[in-house]
């Protein structure tokens, strides 16, 4: 039995300074105890009667033990870790710090059995809280960092905001614990990206860094100075591997402008088809580019006013072939299974053509009028769908508005598209206020059952009249006798997105209504509970905001 000191035992485990003599005596006691005093009487107790040996050994061992414990000395200190970098951001207000701990603690406990009671769902509020705290420029309290990193580890959607709040000390901590290694990924060399203003640092990392570091570096430089980002990429472009080129090219989406056209035009001749397609897509988002011009020319030969008809309508003549020049401009020649190749080519052409070319083509008509024109030969759906994609790609608010049509019109009969997902994308091209108004009218006309995706693209908190429209619609749904969980998606959104001031308007709805005869049994109670949760979540959000912005002091926490 080896009981001597080894390098890996803590210093107080078995100190040297109790003396060699004493250490030897102790070892002898341990050996005797292990083998038994009958077999191996300890030499130090020679002369003790065999019957009293166990007691004598224990006496001796007790003396050793207490003496050793009383004489423990500290061990040698190892080199301390490198100190965490300074974080110049301000600390959270005390109440907000406590709130953060609560939100992080509540994260791990979804309500049992999936039933949502009348209490707010704390995990859903964490993203909002983090975003606001970051917006206000706070840093996380150091002691909360482990829980924050754990939260970010479990939920990838939280990572950007959580890591931002965690800041340099969070990365410092993550380097000490392998469980938090994720935090070091994507931040380049452990978060030590050179500043975009440091040309030498940028150059050397760009030339020697790992792929992930280089992607992060290019994104950072491009964000700061688009031209410098392009120059950096161009300097090594021809030497990059095809899959790397694709990723790098993607980072040009940030700050895309006419200045990138020449480079992108050259990339249309790239060896890799994916790179070519991405370059073409980027160019078509620049309505003034040569590619956009070529696409406008091609589209114009396919789509125009029907001269033969009595009243104005659109005639479509889909392309008969996809030639090499079209392919070079990014058209995919082979359609997916089940689609005709001519309509496939037409869709791509119209999608890539600048929307600005159409008014001239249709006798000076604006987007609304063009969208309202009848289309010959069943091409309407195909043409409008392509325009929808073009409006999103070119971020064109006028065309988006035209293609969305009136919110009051039933979705199936409107212009553009009946797909809610695509309508959501079109909506996000509109200014925030207009978006909220449009969705409010939609909810007022059609209720909530189809509004989920549209509500999701509206800015938080919901601007009026959107909030009022949603509350009215919920009230109507309740009166109609349905159960609240048919609307759980919208309810969840409302909890996160309604302006906290709406709580007052909702207060009356939390009362338990008298059970009417024609409604689903028990629905009233569930609605009252759902509204209670909505109200208390809104209150909680108001409190969270007040704590972060410092308005909370007026509410009276002590200790300023």
């Amino acid at each position: 039995m080896d009981t001597t000191t080894t390098a890996s035992t803590p210093p107080t485990g078995r100190p040297e300074d109790t003396g060699d003599e004493s250490a030897r005596a102790w070892e002898e006691l341990v050996t005797s105890a292990l083998l038994g005093t009958d077999r191996r009487p300890p030499a130090a107790l020679a002369g003790t009667a065999a019957g009293s040996l166990p007691g004598a050994l224990l006496d001796e061992a007790a003396l050793h033990t207490v003496r050793r414990r009383a004489g423990l000395r500290p061990g040698a200190a190892v080199a301390p870790p490198e100190p965490a970098p300074e974080d110049p951001r301000g600390p959270l207000p005390a109440a907000a710090g406590i709130r953060l701990e609560q939100l992080l603690a509540g994260r791990a406990s979804p309500s049992p059995s999936g039933r949502r009671g009348a209490a707010p769902d704390l995990a859903e509020l964490l993203p909002q809280w983090l975003a606001l705290a970051n917006e206000l420029g706070y840093k996380a309290p150091p002691a909360a960092l482990p829980a924050l990193l754990d939260a970010a580890r479990a939920r990838t959607d939280l990572r950007p905001q959580a890591l931002r709040l965690a800041g340099p000390r969070g990365l410092w901590l993550a380097r000490l614990n392998p469980e938090w290694r994720f935090a070091l990924r994507g931040t380049g060399a452990g978060g030590n990206l050179p500043s975009p203003d440091d040309p030498e640092g940028v150059r050397s990392l760009w030339d020697e860094g790992l792929f992930a570091e280089r992607v992060a570096l290019l994104a950072a430089v491009r964000t700061r100075d688009p031209a410098a980002g392009l120059a950096l990429l161009a300097s090594t472009w021809s030497a990059e591997r095809a899959e790397d080129r694709l990723m790098f090219l993607d980072s040009l989406r940030t700050g895309l402008s006419g200045a990138d056209e020449e480079f992108l035009e050259a990339a249309l001749a790239d060896r890799s088809r994916n790179v070519r397609a991405t370059a073409a897509e980027l160019l078509s988002a620049l309505p003034a580019s040569a590619l956009a011009g070529r696409m406008a020319g091609r589209a114009a030969t396919c789509v125009g006013l029907d001269r033969t008809a009595g009243s104005p309508r659109i005639a479509v003549e889909a392309p008969h072939e996809c030639d090499a020049a079209m392919e070079r401009d990014g058209l995919v020649a082979v359609p997916p299974a089940g689609r005709g190749e001519r309509s496939w080519w037409l869709g791509q052409l119209v999608e890539a053509a600048p929307l600005s070319c159409w008014p001239a083509r249709f006798g000076g008509r604006g987007p609304e009028e063009i969208v309202a024109l009848p289309v010959a030969d069943d091409w309407r759906a195909e043409l409008h769908a392509a325009w929808c994609r073009a409006a999103v790609r070119q971020r064109d608010a006028d065309w988006s508005r035209a293609l969305l049509g009136s919110p009051a019109a039933p979705p199936a009969t409107g212009p553009g598209t009946s797909s809610l997902a695509e309508r959501g994308r079109l909506l996000s091209m509109l200014p925030a206020e207009e978006r909220a108004r449009w969705v409010a009218s939609f909810v007022a006309a059609h209720g909530l059952s189809e509004a989920f995706q549209l509500l999701g693209v509206c800015d938080v908190p919901w601007a009026e009249p959107l909030g009022a429209a949603v509350i009215d619609a919920l009230d109507i749904a309740r009166d109609a006798g349905s159960y609240p969980w048919s609307f759980s998606g919208v309810m969840g959104l409302a909890e996160r997105c309604l302006a906290p001031a709406a709580a007052r308007q909702l207060e009356s709805l939390t009362a338990l209504p008298d059970e009417a005869e024609d409604v689903s049994p028990g629905a009233g109670g569930y609605w009252s509970e759902a509204f209670q949760r909505l109200v208390s979540t809104l209150r909680l959000r108001a409190a969270m905001r007040a704590e972060l912005t410092g308005e909370h002091a007026a509410a009276g926490t002590y200790g300023a």
């Binding site: 009981t3 390098a7 890996s8 803590p10 210093p11 107080t12 006691l29 341990v30 105890a33 292990l34 083998l35 038994g36 040996l53 166990p54 007691g55 224990l58 006496d59 061992a61 007790a62 050793h64 033990t65 207490v66 414990r69 009383a70 423990l72 000395r73 500290p74 061990g75 040698a76 200190a77 190892v78 301390p80 965490a84 600390p91 005390a94 109440a95 710090g97 406590i98 701990e101 609560q102 603690a105 509540g106 406990s109 009348a118 209490a119 707010p120 704390l122 002691a143 909360a144 901590l173 614990n177 949760r533 208390s536 909680l540 409190a543 509410a555 009276g556 926490t557 002590y558 200790g559």
Partner: protein
Amino acid sequence: MSVAASSVGDMNAMGVRWMAGQVLALAPDDASRKAGSKLGTAGPWSGTGRGEGAVWGLCKGSGGAPYRTVVDTTGPAYACSCPSRKFPCKHALGLLLLQASDPTSFDDAAAAPDWAGQWLAGRRERADSAARRAETGAPAGATADPEAARRRAERRAARITAGARELEQRLADLLRGGLATAEQTGYGLWEETAARMVDAQAPGLAGRVRELGAIPGSGPGWPVRLLEECALTHLLDRAWLAADRLPPDLAATVRSRVGLTAPADGSPVRDHWHVLAQYDTADARLTTRRIWLHGATSRRTALLLSFGAAGRAPRLAFPVGALLDGELTPHPGSGRLRAEPGERFAPVAGPAAPPPGGPVGAALDAYGRALGDDPWLDAWPVTLRDVVPARAEYGWQLADADGREALPLTPAAQSRPGLWRLVALSGGAPVTVFGECGHRGFTPLAAWSPEAPGETVPLI
């Protein structure tokens, strides 16, 4: 300025409201903390009011009638009509949280409703009569028949003596045959011996025996640990059998180590007590809660113990980081560390500074000195000043800021989440750490950073 003024007003009227963090620190476990947090909003509450150091309210639950919850914040003590066995229950926590975050939702003017008022009156009466007893000098548990009590005590001492003799015999048999056999005989023999000690009404001996049984399975180096603990158990047996010849303080220590609870009979110490740490340890039979306090004026560190039957949270709960005005009565023995809290403990305002501390060498010195009074001590409460957590080959240590000496953390503390809170708080710079320092190493329980010396960061 208006904030400061209002806080003074608060204090005069009813003592300072507790902050949310302090309330959460009262929760018996994580689940209650989360459940309480959810109830800390106005939603489920009605009829909330406060006055004379108490808050009350009705909380709507899933059933029909709302629960009646009342908290005496001077205790703290709680009553709730819910069936929960947690203490405090989530409703009491939620009520206190609501008061912390939204004091405007409480009616200051209203008198307590009957159900709350009766409970409060009963409590206050008991506290007053306890205070009167203390003034008149009558012992708290004065029994009607001191003669009968003496006979009972004698009978129990005789049983413990028989138990101690039996344990001595078992230890002697073990040593004679060799500790190596302990690995083969397994836990059963120890469990049986422990049961015999329970029969002998010596729970302290029973606990030690159970620990002895666990050592052979505790990994490399177990024979050394087993011999150490056997020797100390033997020392305790011997001390009990000779207790009448020991100095009074040591005799008291031996009696409490064996498991005889002596009433707290020291002279009460009134102080502003800083709650440094509160944590529970549980086995199948008992949950033991330890609460460490430090007196601002007396400079005394005190340990409060509270017990809960299996699965139940102990009733005593103090918010970590708070400063409480109250009286502690020390128990005899074991360095007079353990104390009994008086009925009233009221929070007082003001940041609680960490206890003055020293370097790691001084911490080990303090433990060594304490062993002189109580050789069975596993650890001693100490505050380390200006130490940096650093990772050595064998695990984490706390090193003096001058980089010379260091204390290793105990193996258990190496794997707790609290370790990472400590490392994060330090950021590689010196911090002040309170904890238990013993022969297994150091267990950090609370820490303070130089940037926020008034904020106690719990590490457990």
